[in-house]
Symmetry: C2
Subunit: 677 residues, 2 copies
Amino acid sequence: MKTMHPLDPLTPAEISQAAAIVRSRYGDQDVHFKVITLKEPPKSVMVTFLDQEHRNLPAKSTPVRCARVDITIQIATGGNELHELFLDMDKGSVLEHRVLKGKHSYVDSTYMQEVEAACMADHRVQDEIRKLDLSPGASVVVEPWTYATDGENDMSKRVTMCWFYLRLLEHQDANYYAYPLDICAEISETLEVTKVYRLPSSPNEHIHHESRAFDRRKIHSTTASEYHPDIRPNPRTSTKPYKVVQPNGPSFKINGNHLNWEKWSFRVGFNYREGLTLHDIRYDGRSVFYRLSLAEMFVPYGDPRAPYPRKAAFDLGNDGAGINANNLKLGCDCLGTIKYFDAWHTTRSGEPMQLPNVVCCHEQDDGILWKHTNFRTGNAVVARSRILVLQTIITVSNYEYIFAFHFCQDASIFYEVRATGILSTVPTNIDYNLTTPYGTVVAPGVLAPYHQHLFCLRIDPAIDGQNNSVSIEESEPMPFDENNPFGVGYVTKSHYVEKEGGFDLDFTKARTFKFVNEANVNPITNTPVGFKLMPFYSQMLLADKNSFHAKRSEYGQHAVWVTKYRDDELFPSGKYTMQSMGGEGIASAIRNRATVGDQDTVRNSDVVVWHTFGSTHNPRIEDWPVMPSEKMVVGLKPVNFFAGNPGLDVAPSTQEVNKSVLYTEEDEGPRRGASRL
Amino acid sequence: MKTMHPLDPLTPAEISQAAAIVRSRYGDQDVHFKVITLKEPPKSVMVTFLDQEHRNLPAKSTPVRCARVDITIQIATGGNELHELFLDMDKGSVLEHRVLKGKHSYVDSTYMQEVEAACMADHRVQDEIRKLDLSPGASVVVEPWTYATDGENDMSKRVTMCWFYLRLLEHQDANYYAYPLDICAEISETLEVTKVYRLPSSPNEHIHHESRAFDRRKIHSTTASEYHPDIRPNPRTSTKPYKVVQPNGPSFKINGNHLNWEKWSFRVGFNYREGLTLHDIRYDGRSVFYRLSLAEMFVPYGDPRAPYPRKAAFDLGNDGAGINANNLKLGCDCLGTIKYFDAWHTTRSGEPMQLPNVVCCHEQDDGILWKHTNFRTGNAVVARSRILVLQTIITVSNYEYIFAFHFCQDASIFYEVRATGILSTVPTNIDYNLTTPYGTVVAPGVLAPYHQHLFCLRIDPAIDGQNNSVSIEESEPMPFDENNPFGVGYVTKSHYVEKEGGFDLDFTKARTFKFVNEANVNPITNTPVGFKLMPFYSQMLLADKNSFHAKRSEYGQHAVWVTKYRDDELFPSGKYTMQSMGGEGIASAIRNRATVGDQDTVRNSDVVVWHTFGSTHNPRIEDWPVMPSEKMVVGLKPVNFFAGNPGLDVAPSTQEVNKSVLYTEEDEGPRRGASRL
């Protein structure tokens, strides 16, 4: 019989069980299930459990298996009410039941399809489409977007923005983002089309009513704007096959959601919102991190013209990295020997719904781990670096994000984000002005507005235990004086973070954030054992501090946030971001606690570190029609945690194992363009 | 018969020919050959030549084949005199002959061996060694270092610093850096041991004469400090084999030093100082860069105590990235199908000396190049990224550096540096103080002092031709006013660099340096075609501006330098860095030109961009005894140079080609530590 771990996601059977418990409570009411997910056990309980587990001792007590269920219920006034329930799965009972007035759940694809249909059925929309005088094979696509609060509508009800595009070719995967139309519609929660209007198409228009007509003759040919191989010219044939062969299988061992690889061990989690989560991360048996997760992503657009300030997506809070995770088909997304993890979500009616192959796990070669040649003997010793990749890829309408944790043999962890997919576009009248200061024209009539991608990586360190401190270290020149007679000396100065707050990066000072265990001093270096953050240097949120974007996102103000651990504090822009009004993020939480005097020192406590990073994405035409991956990498590295290089025992690299092949020029043709001297 | 290209390095025959020409000029004098290398043709000549070549037209004129020869001649007063000669290889004549008074050539391994021998033969040194009362099998190793000018000696003659280490085990590859001794010697150019003294071993000693005796009983056991597999415990066996198989061979084509790969074409160069250089880099036939090279590397140590301020290495200028390049043995340094390039240097007597396998060229898979899933159809299209790697690895005494250019299918280029090898160590008396503010104790009695690695990448852009401009762009919020009524708008503002100078990075403004061709406007974006620098954010030189370190290095003051191209301006700390006194670097050159009024605008001219980057390396114990690779990456990406994603035509990834393997858990054992719920 299968055994389970308290951190394992809910099984299909548990999802059904949870739905049944909830259904029985609501009787005849039409319950729309949004979330049925594991409520992770309180950390206090889990830490005891894990301590026993790692000592191979029986559990003192098994944490209660708890589920969180979000549902919506239709209400008399025509809207929906969001309810949240916590269930004791062992007893089959409801522990807590809350009605969340004014809050909205994440985007619902079924609802969005209804929005599209309602929009297309509207006579004003049909009038506008008729005016387009579409060529045969062309069709209009409605792209509904969640509404980024701008103060102009009542946010207690859902409002959906509908943008319009043209699918110029009959092919179902034709790139409709290449033909943005200048129509826009707003749809109410009850699927009424409340407004239909023209979008601005010249750089200086702030209010849509002033809009000049978009020149619809500007529709350009498809050659440059299609990405699907069916409707593209033949691809290049110069790229020869490249295979990864692992004759003895991979170096990892997997038992359910537990993974062992090269001295690392951890548990894989997954939920509808964060997608991939990692738990109880240890190296060589020593605790390093309690939990690692992407906590939020915010994508605000910089085009100031109404209604574009409504384009600002919380891709986790509004859309869900779990729900939108791709099925990673064998061989297309990865090479080598691959383990896929499935996940389970819920249907509207509470049936378990499989999300197949949402996480892949595989190894990669990563070049040289370490090398030294003794120049006196000429003898070289070189070890190659093998890394373990845990990857998930999400599609949020036009964009793709590739999220990967890389575990390394030297006990470092890297979190790599690659942004790819298609730019969000708006129509532009290029006759009007040659360039636009907040966007790039990527094809005739097509403007790709400037925007930012702001990610938040939540790091819950457990460096040799839960009680950790955060220190900030800088490298500083010594004064040029009698203690530094040649003016070349420099020292590190560091201080501990005492209170919760937001902090900034400064590479000019080599400012370094460390998570350390002050109680555990490395006997050789005489410093506390720790790990350090290798941040990704990024511009913070550009929107004004008094804008709704800033108030709603909050974490985008600083690159590093330090808080004291709280069981339910997982999201730096708040739990319910959909049409949120602001004041529910990490800055507010810290300020509120300070106000009520609930701000203990974070030193020698259970700290959490949140790293904000991303890109100010001012599109290049090279990002069109599908953007080449833009990499962003964050690192976590041991600092005086071990007694030496943790990868020193990796076996040196040999040709006997690697079987590399020597290239010779024998079958190359004559040299091009060469001249005889 | 073999044809040659004007950018091909000198052949062995040419090296012999050059030596003969020089020898004949010096008659009976003992000529010590230091350099026999290609003097690259003037750019004005080369550009015309390359234009004709790329149009498949006959050369209008072939550039004169020119060699540069550096020799030293012993002089009556006991020292050496450095001569530089330029030869016309076509005519077999000397074009120019200069005596470089007060300048020194690069480190000479033969000379260094003589220094070591002289040092060991000294009776004071022998006295000190006797006092060590070495155990059987142990031996003393002398490590000579070039002298970083500190104002305390006459720099017109060479002075060598000799540090002492203990090889505790009889094994010839035992890690002697693990046992630094507290003896130091200074050796004159004529191999006299001028001083022998004790090193400081406590943190507060500034002058060696005050030094407390180092506690030599602190010699620690070897287990933690050895890296050679012969004298290490057995390595881990968990890492299973991983092979790269390219059944149809690699995707590159090589003719001599010319390389074609996935629309890229360029020429591989190599010289004793810079090592690998790249020339005439084009994508799809369009010129992008004229030349890319690592121009300098400076490694100043931050320990203020005399004589440690003399530790500051110019690893290119003093040591030579070419001379110290590793022989990259098949299968140990790379996977897949590998092409190696050899290089040729000269012996002391002017014979051609082969440097085998100093550059390797191979392909790597680099994850996903681009992906999009149409959420309406569920159809995904994914292309994997193949990269071409041109790599060279150098050993400079204790340290290793791995330098690699990565060419990508999306027309971007990355320059990756990995620092590995062994930390430079000094003795420390750990009883005296628990920690040292300018170093890390990595083993009992062993201090790894703080230091910096400052690299300078020289970028000679040729964006659709030689006349380019550098623009600096920032992303800036719009004021919250009637033009930006929601406070979310932001714009880019940019200006052109008009004069030569040094510039700083600022990620808080998304400051971006672009190289553009103002005369060539992208017809879709309406902006000049260009490439941008993706810098590696690093702390600049910490040494005081008035220190010799700062005066000698110069480029370490700013992250980006912009200069107008000059044929012989290749080195940002000057051509002769050995015991240099300062004032010969890039800042001085710019200042001097401004002083004499020779400072034209750099806009729409032949610009060169120099990027300073690196690390403030405050060692971790995890860097011991061999440091896991520390990656530093600089990128060059097209910005509105093309008409769209240059990698769009890469064929989508398929399992048919990739042949990935599905992992199943069937043969895994029972789950560990799991509890039944």
